[in-house]
């Protein structure tokens, strides 16, 4: 089975092991160690870690298309935000009559705009299964239409990057408009509960953190299974010599479309995990700058490794948390500096450094030939 193939890979075993260990450790330090103890992890930090994990999932999605397919998407923030909006719409409907205006059906901003009834696209979001399905289907559908048009016309390289950027910018402008029915510039916020659990309670926050970890692990396995399959090798072939791959009889645009849609769905999932943890979704997530930042995470961590994307996302966002706390004005300089340093000294990112270290240690420790990898 292609889906179970990643379990045989050393790097995947290590990754899943580290992820599970980190999730267990954080849970134990939060639940077992009493508050006030220096090792106690408070709810705020758990929440922060959960946010990092959802960003890491987003970075994995970007690495899947950039690293393995060679499509530099500068618009993945759009899929992230749409997944986030789908989750936000479900959370809004969960508020019910507890909003400021007390309308049992209409969210506050609609009452404020004196709308009479829900627009058609809000229907169904009172049901969790529908909302969660839309988290995957809405970004997937957008990627399907966008990708179909772009790949069919053989738009690649920098032109594709530019139109992905234009896509997210156009969506940002659209979502800023009140008439769109997504809360305009304020977005969706003031959420109360998810699946009946109070979003402000520590237990729910821990649950969301763990859910993000599980989603990251599962998505990582899925992506590994894809890149480890023959389809993954077709993707790499497409990345390096598209015309040649087409000539071998592969309909390149369909492979690109498939992987692009999977990636968009994962980005949407990341957005859906992010929104309940930060408590708000607004059009600023569509900002082109955010999409570029995601690419920076992947570049810093190391392209085409998947775990590099995770490392990059967590590292940069941790640095961001620290920096914006200590000296907020210096953050962009620090980010720029980090990017320059990594580009100059670690062209393969942090993951490249790790791989190099591991390889050297293996070469030193056993002179015996490495285990046979079955292709």
């Amino acid at each position: 089975m292609w889906l179970t193939q990643p379990f045989n890979e050393r790097s995947t075993q290590l990754f899943i092991g580290v992820l599970l260990a980190a999730m267990t450790l954080v849970t134990l330090l939060h639940v077992v160690v009493p508050a006030g103890h220096p090792l106690h992890v408070n709810a705020y930090t758990v929440n922060l870690f959960g946010k990092y994990l959802s960003y890491a999932l987003l970075a994995v999605a970007v690495d899947l298309v950039w690293g393995y397919l060679g499509i530099l998407s500068l618009g993945h923030g759009a899929f992230f935000a749409i997944g986030g909006y789908a989750m936000g719409m479900y959370l809004m409907r969960q508020i019910g009559d507890r909003g400021t205006y007390g309308d049992p059906v209409l969210p506050d901003f609609m009452v404020f705009l004196s709308w009479e009834s829900l627009p058609w696209y809000w229907l169904g979001f009172d049901m969790a299964w529908f909302g969660f399905l839309m988290v995957l289907l809405a970004p997937g559908a957008l990627a399907l239409v966008f990708g179909f048009l772009a790949f069919r016309s053989r738009v690649t390289g920098v032109y594709l990057s530019i139109i992905t950027q234009a896509l997210t910018f156009a969506l940002m402008l659209a979502f800023y408009r009140n008439e769109m029915g997504f809360g305009g510039s304020d977005g969706l916020t003031d959420f109360r509960d998810i699946l009946g659990f109070n979003l402000r309670s520590n237990e729910t926050r821990l649950g969301l953190f763990l859910a993000s970890g599980v989603a990251l692990g599962a998505s990582y396995l899925l992506c590994r299974a894809i890149v480890g399959s023959k389809l993954g090798r077709v993707c790499v072939a497409t990345r390096d010599a598209e015309a040649r791959t087409r000539f071998l009889g592969y309909r390149v645009e369909r492979f690109q479309l498939f992987v692009f849609v999977v990636s968009a769905m994962l980005a949407g999932l990341a957005g859906a995990l992010y929104v309940p943890q930060v408590g708000i979704i607004n059009p600023s997530e569509f900002s082109p700058l955010f999409s570029i930042e995601i690419v920076l995470w992947v570049a810093l961590g190391g392209r085409a490794t998947l775990y590099g994307a995770v490392i990059g996302a967590i590292l940069v966002n941790y640095a961001k948390t620290v920096f914006t706390g200590v000296m907020p004005d210096a953050w962009l300089f620090a980010l720029g500096g980090m990017f320059v340093l990594v580009t100059v000294f670690l062209p393969k990112g942090v993951a490249g450094l790790l791989a190099y270290r591991f390889k050297r240690r293996r070469d030193e420790s056993d002179a015996a030939p490495g285990q046979e990898v079955t292709p």
Partner: protein, 277 residues
């Protein structure tokens, strides 16, 4: 009984329902048939009333000075360029002018380009795996596993091309000659009926050329092979029948000795190249 059987063959009721991948019809001899083909680029006739027939199992060399239309001819056969007029048939059943590039490739025409393009990030084995005839749609590719016969076929091609030792190495580290052989190997993986090989020995050492000659002559008979080459020594070493192209049409055709003694050929091509050499 036979009537009942024929009636039971419901998939054969309509001729157009029979899949297009039906085998190539070579009962009449030729596997490739080009008639009165003309291509014009901005008023320049790259191919001018070209007539060419290649028999099944033949090894044919095509020579001609630069700009004679050799590469354009390959482009027409593989569907990359559409001619303005003429007929191009593959066997007696398939009109290549109605088909697109992937369809032609699937039908069994493999082409090796001048510049070797192998997938450098993938291993030699994986390069061959991707080139193998298989269901190349997205989902079947996702769940595809190599079965025994497929693995054996890859091993066989690795032996044929002399790359067995390098099977796990990335194709990017191969030498120029090895990349050419890998390319030919990738073509063989598709079990093509017709192999188009563009300048296989450009930039090769003497030894590499010999290996390439062995490889190509070994293929003829099983496959039809069309080789476009500049190197006269190499053409002499492999060719049974040579076609000389000049200004987009066939100038002479026959054995190497025949064409070499043709005064028109000496004038436009061989004379020049022997002076240069």
């Amino acid at each position: 009984m036979s009537l009942i059987q024929s009636l039971a063959q419901r998939d054969r009721v309509f001729d157009f329902m029979v899949p297009a991948e039906s085998p190539v019809d070579v009962r009449h001899g030729p596997i490739l048939y080009m008639e009165d083909v003309t291509v014009t680029f901005d008023g320049f006739k790259a191919i001018n009333d070209l007539n060419l027939t290649v028999d099944d199992g033949e090894l044919r060399c095509i020579i001609g000075p630069n700009g004679a239309g050799k590469t354009t001819m390959m482009d027409i056969i593989t569907g990359k360029t559409r001619p303005d007029q003429g007929k191009v048939w593959f066997g007696a059943r398939h009109n290549l002018l109605t088909m697109n590039e992937p369809e032609i490739a699937t039908l069994g025409i493999g082409r090796k380009f001048q510049k070797p393009t192998v997938f450098e990030a993938l291993s030699v084995f994986e390069n061959l795996e991707l080139a193998m005839t298989a269901d190349k749609r997205v989902l079947p590719t996702l769940i595809a596993r190599l079965d025994g016969p497929a693995r054996e076929w890859i091993d066989e091609v690795l032996e044929m091309t002399g790359l067995a030792e390098l099977r796990r190495r990335p194709a990017g580290i191969l030498s120029h000659g090895q990349k050419q052989w890998l390319e030919i190997g990738m073509l063989l993986m598709q079990r093509p009926r017709l192999l188009l090989v563009d300048e296989p020995v450009a930039g090769m050492t003497e030894q590499e050329m010999e290996r390439t000659a062995e490889l190509l002559t070994g293929l003829a008979g099983k496959q039809s092979v069309v080789v476009v080459e500049h190197d006269m020594g190499f053409v002499r070493s492999i060719a049974r029948k040579v076609t000389v192209l000049h200004q987009g049409s066939v100038l002479a055709e026959g054995s190497m000795d025949q064409v070499q003694s043709d005064p028109r050929v000496i004038e436009v091509y061989l004379g020049e190249s022997e002076e240069a050499a």
